[in-house]
Each structure stands twice: as C-alpha cells, then as structure tokens.
C-alpha cells in the first residue's frame, strides 16, 4: 500500500527533506501557504515554474516539486521574465529574500513592476541576510541589530510595498507568517492576477535575527511579528507603516487591471506592422 504522508505531499520533494531551514524559520509556513493556494486553485503543477536567486529563501525550488531554476543572487526576476516571454502559458513565480529582491536585485524589481511583467514576486522579509549569517539588509528596521550594524542600521529601511506600488506593480500585498490563511488567499489572487504581482511576507529568522536581537526562542520572535503586524483594509500603499516599534501594516494595497508587458509588446508590434503595411 502506498502511504501518503500528507495531502500536499505531491508538491514537495520529500527526497530533499529535511530542509536546510532552521527550526522555527518562517519560510516553511510560506511554502505551505503557497502549495495550498496552488492546490485549491487546481492549477496544473506542470504549469508552474519557480525561479529564485540565492539565499535561504532561494532554496525554495529545491523543495517544491515544480520546474525550477536557482539562478544568481538578485537575478531571478529577469530570468523569470525571459521564461514568461518564451512560454506565456506558464505561471512564473519568483521567490526571494529581502536582500535578493531589494538589494542586489532591486533594480530588476522596479523595472519588472514598471513593465507590468506577468509574473509573481514573493519576498520573504526576515529583516536580515540570512544565508550569509546575519548582515544588515535594506529592510533592517531602526532599533534592530545585525552583525554588520552592531549599533543599529545606518540608514532608513526600504518599505517594499511603497516601492513596488510606486514603480507600477498592479497587485501589491504584505502579510506575515502569523496569517498563513490570509497569505494563502493572497497567493491565490496573485497567481490569477494579470500583470505584475508582489507579495511581501514578514517572517521570523529566529536563529540569526532573533538571536542578535535578544529573542531567546522562535516563539518570542513570532509573537513580536504577530504583534506588530496590523491588518488594515481599504487603505492605499502609501498610507501603510513599516515600523518595528509601532506597526508594520499588513493587507492588500493595490489590485488593478492594466495591460501586461507581453500585451503591450504585442500591441506595439501589431501597430508597427499595420502601419508598415500601409506604407508598402
């Protein structure tokens, strides 16, 4: 008799277990919410490609049973756009850390948003560079510490929601690992969205960020994340807060329908060809 370990097992590369993620890490919660979303939407897993850069989060394509590419640190978004243009029938998902998506790959994020490239970008925000062992990230909030900012970060953090929205993303949401069901629902919307969708997930890195900042166990850090995450409905992306002491606003802040990159591209080609024919 074939024993199924879990109803969602078919989406997981069980042969790769255990993962390299530390006990208490939030990335697993995100992975589970994602495969639940895929399952509930009944998307054919053969129609999904996951692309990641480098980082703890970047390990995602190792563990989920979808076609996947683990590319260079920061370069997942352009690779995903290439995949999407070659095979528009596929759902192309980028999954990366805050360093991957906002530091070294930050330029790609804003340009993909500007073009309304028809991909989904999921950003795990654990406030720090996890894989390399705890250096300051562009998301590191004021009043928190990292190994390269032992007295606090020298600059104000990026608020990814505002950046994605300002750059033209047509779906923008921020959730935390404290709300896996809402996160799953948001994944469902993003996967069905036409154009560029961006989901930031506030997540706990207990082994590195937690330890440096005095959280003795994953639960303490998780509680902190639960407490600062305030869900607000009906507000725009620029009314949100990203503040470690007060509030990190959660919710869905942009959801609009605009022509995708491929549609805009096809339209220009069509128009150019038609006007060319006129001249001929």
């Amino acid at each position: 008799m074939e024993l199924e370990l879990h109803p969602l097992e078919k989406y997981i590369r069980t042969e790769k277990m255990p993962t390299t993620w530390c006990p208490g890490c939030g990335i697993g919660t995100e992975a589970q919410a994602f495969i639940r979303a895929v399952d509930e939407l009944k998307i054919d897993p053969k129609k999904i490609v996951i692309v990641s850069g480098i980082g703890c989060t970047g390990r995602m394509p190792h563990y989920l049973r979808f076609d996947g590419a683990h590319v260079l640190h920061g370069r997942a978004i352009p690779v995903a756009i290439g995949i999407k243009l070659a095979r528009p029938d596929l759902k192309v998902v980028v999954w990366g850390g805050d360093g991957d998506i906002l530091s070294i790959g930050g330029n790609h994020l804003i340009h993909a948003a500007r073009r309304n490239a028809d991909i989904t970008v999921i950003m795990n925000n654990n406030f720090i560079y996890g894989l390399t062992g705890g250096q300051v990230a562009p998301t590191t909030p004021k009043d928190t510490l990292t190994y390269t900012s032992p007295y606090g970060p020298d600059s104000k953090p990026f608020d990814a929601v505002k950046i994605a929205a300002a750059a033209g993303a047509t779906y923008v949401a921020r959730w935390s690992t404290a709300y896996p069901v809402l996160l799953k629902e948001s994944f469902k919307k993003a996967l069905q969205h036409r154009g560029f969708s961006f989901i930031e997930i506030i997540s706990q890195c207990p082994e590195i960020f937690g330890r440096i900042n005095g959280f003795k166990d994953p639960y303490g850090l998780y509680q902190k994340i639960r407490k600062i995450g305030q869900i607000r409905r009906g507000i725009g992306p620029f009314e949100t807060k990203y503040d470690w002491n007060e509030e990190i606003t959660l919710g869905e802040f942009v959801n609009k329908d605009e022509p995708t990159y491929l549609e805009q591209l096809s339209q220009i080609i069509k128009e150019a060809q038609e006007s060319g024919q006129d001249e001929a």
């Binding site: 590319v71 260079l72 070294i104 930050g106 560079y129 390399t132 562009p138 190994y147 390269t148 032992p150």
Partner: protein, 401 residues
C-alpha cells in the same frame, strides 16, 4: 635590525579572514565598502566590529552589491582615501567590469578574495576559478598560503599599490574555507601605528579635486587609447620589481618576508611540484610519505600570479627535471586547462626550456586533495618522467567520468 627590535607583536588565533581584517585595520584604511558573500563575509564583519568599537576610524559602506562595493571604493580612492574591499566567487564576477575601471583609473585599492568556485551549479566551496578569471584585469594578484602571510600581504599590497611607479589595485587571494575559516596563530602588530611607518599615508596618485577640476575616465579615441592602456603594461612591469622590493622592505622592517616563490627541497630533486594557496601545506605534509616511496620531490608555491613571475619560474624550471603543476581552476576548451600550467608552459617555451610539465586539475569545488592524493600525483608523474612521457592534456585528478 635596529628597527626590528622596536616592533611589538601580539600572537592571536585568527582565521585568514580575520587576519586580513586585522591587516586592513592596521593599514588604517579610510573606507571599506562591501557586500557579504561566503566565504569572505567574516572579513567585513570583523572590520565593522573594529569600526563600531572605535579601534578603526573608517567609514563602512554597506552597499547593495559587489558592483557597488568596488565602485564606492573607486570613488573614495579617487578622492585620496585608502580604500579596501573584500569579496569572493560571484561577487568577484559581478565586479568584473569594475575591476578594469579600478586599474584603468590607476587607483591603489586593495581587495581580499577568499577564492571560491563559480555557479552554475551553485557551490559555496573553495577553488580558484574566481581569482583566475581576473587574469587580464591589470590587477596585481598575490596569493597567500597562510593566515600570517595574508596579514603581511595586505600590508605589502598597499605598499605596492601606492608606489608611484605602479599605481594599480592589488588583490590578495587565499583558499576559501580551507584558509578563510580555519584558525592559525598569527602575529599582528601590537600597535597599528608601526604599520604606517612601512606604509605611510601619502596620496601618491592623481585624485579628483573640485578646486582643480579634471575629468577621469573620459573618452579616449583611437589616437590615444592604445598608449593609455600601454601605460598599464609598463606599470605591471614596474610592479614586478616593486612587489619584490616591498617584500624585502617588509622583511627588514618586520622580520618576515616570503620572496616570490616559496620552495622546499627543490634543489637536486627528481621532480618539483608547483602550486598556489593553502594546498602547499598539504604537499609539505605529504613530503615524508613521498620520500618513503623513494621519490625525491621538491615543492614550490607561487605567491604572485600577476604580474607573472617568469624569472622565478624559469629559475625553478632550470633546476627541475620535470614540473608537476597543480591547478585549482579550469580554463575550459584548452587541452592544458590549468591556468598556472598554461602560464608556466608559455614562459618555458619562450625561453627554450623543454622539460615535461604535468598538469593536474585538483580541488575543484573543494574536492578533497589529501596527502595520499599528493603521493599518487607525484608517483604518477615520476612514472611518466621515467618513461620520458609528456602530456598534451591536463589530468583531471579523481574525476568520475
């Protein structure tokens, strides 16, 4: 000698990464700009600690990529600051176009490289593919073989880079993991001021200065571009001499010097093994079992990869019946695929020396290379030598085909 007695040292257990950070601190760098990457990261973590504790008065720029790390170092150096950065692997690759800017602008930046394999597939482990890819960037490339040497080499690197006959950036490489993350006893200066007697802070290079506006890096047309690049050829020639001078002066000041090639038992041997980096330690460890197997092998370690030390290589070749060259990188598409072996062969050929060169590719992506491997490689080479056999293709040691 009198000078020597004045220098006080502290002996600390340090990884090569930490040794490099101590050296950068003792060189009193003004700025460090870096982006984390394994196995380099602890260099800059240590530096940020020094800065945070007030032991080093410098600005640390937490940039968003290595491309920006070297670019920021260029900006600071162009303003006359003593600039430092550190990287490895993909970080060094991402810097690649900036490497040419740093040398083309003749800026004496120093960078440490914890040598690591390249993607794809990802490997965080050590080999020298990243460093060897910098061959044509006009950087001076030193490769250290111990944590102590890495410390000393970073100080020497500023001496070389800032010499007005050179004015080129200098890279100090060493094995990722095998050196970057292992601890050795290292003597560091008790008082970093002593380092500044060896490398006084003096701006020897052309800098930007808004009082006297100039433009650096401006467009060069076919009428002058060539001559400007030829100046780098000359600077590299000068660097060859200055590297030796800097090492000798270091020896006079601090009591340690290394020369260009470190050698053990290379005189009157059956054959000599030439390599670079920490693997030399493994070779020395293996010397006893090799001797017990009836082979008299000598061992040599190259400390300087660019400018290529052809004189020392020739001297070594002249006293060798054969050279076994161990390379930890691959030049794809060449039958002799080891970057060092190729340089050696070209130097030997142009000087009419026709001894066998046995090139072994080892330690790729941290594939273990033990004393036993060293014995087998030397024995296999010795057998070929006895048969008068040469090779026209590198031997990929231990690969499963």
């Amino acid at each position: 000698m009198e000078e020597l007695t004045k220098v006080e040292w502290v002996r600390l257990p340090l990884s090569t990464n930490y040794a490099v950070a101590y050296a950068a601190k003792d060189a009193d760098i003004d700025i460090v700009s870096a982006y984390p990457i394994t196995p380099q990261t602890t260099v800059v973590e240590k530096l940020s600690e020094f800065i945070a504790n007030g032991e080093l008065k410098a600005q640390m720029i937490h940039v968003e990529s290595e491309h920006s790390a070297l670019s920021a170092a260029i900006g600071a150096s162009a303003m006359g600051a003593r600039a430092f950065t550190a990287t490895a692997s993909q970080g060094l690759e991402l810097m690649h176009e900036v490497l040419h800017i740093a040398s083309g602008l003749r800026l004496p930046i120093v960078m440490s490289v914890a040598a690591r394999a390249l993607s794809a597939p990802i490997s965080i482990w050590g080999d020298y593919t990243d460093l060897m890819n910098t061959r044509d960037t006009s950087w001076v490339v030193l490769i250290a073989g111990s944590a102590q040497e890495a410390y000393d080499s970073v100080l020497q690197a500023y001496k070389i880079a800032e010499d007005s006959r050179v004015l080129l950036p200098v890279m100090v490489g060493y094995d990722g993991f095998l050196m970057s993350h292992t601890y050795e006893p290292v003597s560091v200066l008790a008082n970093s001021g002593a380092a500044l007697r060896y490398i006084p802070k003096k701006v020897t290079w052309a800098t930007l200065n808004p009082e006297r506006p100039i433009t650096v890096g401006a467009m060069a047309n076919p009428d002058w571009y060539y001559e400007i690049k030829y100046q780098q050829v000359e600077a590299m020639k000068a660097a060859y001499e200055v590297v030796k001078e800097a090492d000798a002066e270091y020896g006079r000041t601090f009591g340690r010097s290394y020369g260009i090639i470190e050698e053990t038992d290379t005189d009157g041997s059956d054959l000599n093994v030439l390599t670079y980096g920490g693997i030399y330690g493994t070779l020395l460890e293996s010397s006893e079992i090799i001797r017990k197997n009836g082979i008299k092998a000598g061992f040599a370690r190259l400390r300087l990869f660019r400018p290529f030390p052809y004189e020392e290589v020739l001297k070594l070749a002249e006293k060798s019946s054969a050279l076994v060259v161990l390379d930890r990188a691959i030049t794809y598409g060449m039958p002799i695929a080891g970057p060092l072996a190729r340089e050696v062969i070209s130097v030997l050929y142009s000087h009419g020396i026709n001894i066998p060169v046995y090139n072994f590719i080892v330690g790729i992506g941290q594939r273990s290379f033990t004393e036993n491997d060293a014995l087998k490689v030397v024995s296999a080479s010795f057998e070929m030598l006895k048969r008068g056999q040469k090779i026209d293709e590198s031997i990929y040691w231990g690969v499963r085909e």
